[in-house]
């Protein structure tokens, strides 16, 4: 008898269920556990109190990204709490035998940037981390999701998690993206459509021609923000683009093991006829660069558009909109383009990879940032930093008047001293515009690296399509290819 067609999610799920008692959640085996300094200390304390060891240190890896300064690493860390937290992760990793890519390591970086670049993130895996943007790794066709500290302790102790099977949600992005429109615009448009709770209880699988045409780094940008639509994970089926990215990376399989892995990975994509609990289609041809105007990532409009008027939204959403606009100091019904900025932030696990650096540099090359504007460019990892410097991108940013920093989460979460001041407006390539997210009282516009870089030049929210790249033709996709 023919097997029932299964989705990518169902295949990974079925492959990892260890046991499933009646009425209890499944015990799901975890292939890779990523750890950082902020959400793990209490889990290690719990392990110590139980007198337990980390069950699989070889399937665990740690770094320091959230509270680490992005200034010259020779400067002592001024924040005592951050210093203590960073010392704690180092100590915990030493005690429990976990490989640590910490301060001074050439492989340190944002946890969701280093996993893929080291080749640790592979198709078909289950990957967890005490961080909601773990969804990023779904770009490889891995089931990857954020967990809390109790769950971190569970994974450290057992290398498994108790999980209920999520529902499936297919998001098809059809057609071809227009020049100047990229991965960030896809995901901001999706969240604007479904809302920040729209994917709750579901894992999104992104399909369609516009998704297939994305590079791995662009796919990571899309999957990264699945959580901003309420979905705990996002998935993209592995294909030749995935394999080409992984081949030769430090932890990727080699030789015969590589061939066997690729054979296995080719069986992962959803079967023809597989059904999803929910499906929507987005017309990729019609997407425009997106910018958020409000205080959650679902409050976004095309850069050519207007902030909604109260009458444009459902009666139940008007309170939310009024409160958001009051916080943002913006007027309902007015244009988003042309809004004055104080700060530009280019970086984060959403847009801190080398292609993002190249995209921003393609706009800033030979230009200057607007007078009075503070522009921070923060690579997602030390490897991204090194690569960017080998291409001279650091010089492009510095010449334009931007700051070029060490890697880290930086102003995305504002835990390390990089932050907006109360009332300041920032355009940011990060993932959250919640009140105070980038510093108390700070006001965030989320956008793509191209939009942020174009806005850095003008000092106001700017449509990147109005600004041609200076070196190599018009700024097109967020991809590096055109910029070389």
């Amino acid at each position: 008898m023919a097997e029932k067609p299964r989705t990518l999610l169902e295949k990974i799920w079925d492959d990892h269920v260890v046991a499933s008692d009646l009425g209890a959640p499944a015990i799901l085996a975890i292939d890779l556990h990523l750890v950082h300094e902020v959400t793990s200390p209490q889990a290690f304390t719990g392990l110590r109190e139980r007198g337990m060891k980390v069950r699989k240190p070889g399937q665990t890896v740690a770094t320091a990204d959230h509270s680490i300064p992005t200034l010259d690493p020779s400067i002592p860390i001024a924040d005592e709490l951050a210093r203590k937290q960073l010392a704690q992760i180092e100590e915990n990793c030493r005690e429990f035998g976990i490989p640590f890519h910490g301060k001074g390591s050439p492989t340190r970086g944002i946890v969701h940037v280093i996993g893929p670049e080291l080749g640790l993130t592979q198709p078909g895996m289950t990957i967890v981390c005490g961080d909601s943007h773990t969804a990023t790794h779904g770009a490889f066709g891995a089931l990857a999701f954020g967990i809390g500290t109790s769950e971190i302790e569970m994974v450290l102790a057992t290398q498994t998690l108790l999980q209920r099977k999520p529902k499936t949600f297919k998001v098809e992005v059809s057609g071809r993206l227009q020049p100047g429109v990229g991965a960030k615009d896809i995901i901001l448009a999706l969240i604007a459509r479904i809302g920040i709770g729209g994917g709750t209880g579901h894992v999104i699988e992104y399909t369609g021609d516009a998704i297939r045409a994305l590079s791995m780094e662009e796919r990571m940008t899309v999957c990264n923000m699945s959580i901003e639509g309420g979905a705990r994970a996002g998935l993209i089926a592995p294909d030749e683009t995935t394999f080409a990215y992984l081949k030769g990376r430090q932890f990727a399989p080699r030789g015969a093991a590589w061939d066997a892995a690729v054979t296995r990975w080719r069986k992962l994509p959803s079967d023809a006829g597989a059904t999803y609990d929910r499906t929507i289609v987005i017309d990729g041809d019609k997407l425009e660069p997106m910018v958020t105007y409000g205080t959650n990532p679902g409050m976004g409009v095309p850069v050519t558009g207007r902030i909604p008027a109260l009458a444009d939204v459902e009666p139940g959403a008007r309170d939310d909109l009024e409160r958001a606009l009051a916080y943002m100091g913006l007027e309902a019904g007015s244009s988003i383009a042309g809004r004055k900025l104080d700060v530009v932030f280019i970086g984060s696990c959403t847009n801190g990879r080398i292609e993002d650096m190249r995209a921003a540099a393609s706009v800033l090359r030979g230009r200057k940032v607007a007078a009075g504007l503070r522009v921070l460019v923060v690579p997602g990892s030390q490897q991204v930093k090194k690569q960017a410097e080998s291409e001279g991108l650091d010089e492009v940013f510095r010449s334009a008047g931007a700051e070029w920093r060490e890697s880290g989460c930086s102003m995305c979460i504002a835990m390390n001293g990089d932050q907006l001041e109360p009332g300041e407006y920032g355009i940011s390539t990060s993932n959250r515009n919640f009140q105070g997210r980038q510093g108390k009282g700070g006001r965030t516009f989320l956008a793509s690296p191209l939009t942020a870089a174009a806005s850095a030049v003008t000092g106001v929210v700017t449509d990147p399509r109005t600004m041609a790249a200076t070196a190599a033709g018009p700024a097109t996709k967020t991809s590096a290819v055109e910029v070389h």
């Binding site: 070889g58 399937q59 509270s67 909601s132 057992t158 290398q159 709750t200 504002a414 108390k440």
Partner: protein
């Protein structure tokens, strides 16, 4: 080991806002701790204090004098969106909150709350509106949320049932730890692992570097 939890009876704090994210519940700068101390003070901090640190006038919801000591919270749709920080339910619990009513909770928040015996009580939009109307007419009425009976009893004696993950319910009622349960399945885990070699060895690269 958590203590067993069965029910709570309390008047209710109402925050009629949708999409309250974890950056509001516990701002990120309070995540630099390495223990769980002091989080009650961090709860809804930026709603309660101006950027200069002054308490807001009028006081924000949980600082309103009549809300002191209340253990039940009722909020708008989609509570707990955003970050996976368990500091959010830790802060709510540290403040004294034991049950939260909403039409929906973000997935990670909901899981984290249950692991801390903080009950996410999901009600329909119609029920939520009725409960908010009830608070408007009877702001100091005490409700009982009974986990064992899966029942909410209102001040006028009306009651209704609620759904909660049956496994989480069992764990919370018994004060049992999930790690103990999973450890009891170690033979099954080891059997699975015998048939599924580790996909990566994170220690292998150390020698190559």
């Amino acid at each position: 080991m958590p203590e067993p939890f069965v029910k709570v009876t309390s008047a209710v704090i109402s925050i009629p806002r949708a999409n309250i994210d974890t950056d509001q519940i516990c701002p990120a700068r309070f995540l630099k701790i390495t223990d769980k101390d002091g989080l009650a003070d961090a709860l809804f901090f930026d709603w309660r204090f101006t950027p200069d640190g002054a308490r807001r006038v009028p006081p924000s919801f949980i600082d309103e004098p009549h809300n002191a000591g209340r253990q039940i919270l009722i909020v708008g749709d989609n509570f707990g969106a955003g970050s996976s920080r368990e500091h959010a339910p830790w802060a709510l619990r540290a403040w004294g909150i034991r049950a939260i009513f909403s039409t929906s909770f973000a997935d990670i928040f909901s899981g984290n709350a249950l692991k801390n015996a903080l009950l996410p009580v999901v009600v329909s939009a119609g029920r939520l509106a009725a409960l908010q109307a009830l608070i408007a007419t009877n702001p100091d009425g005490r409700w009982t949320v009974d986990l064992e009976a899966q029942k909410v009893t209102l001040p006028d004696g009306d009651s209704f049932g609620f759904e909660i993950d049956p496994f989480a319910r069992t764990m919370i009622l018994a004060g049992t730890d999930e790690i103990g349960y999973v450890r009891s399945k170690l033979p099954a885990i080891e059997a699975w692992e015998a048939g599924h070699p580790a996909r990566v060895d994170t220690r292998a690269g150390a020698a190559a570097r």
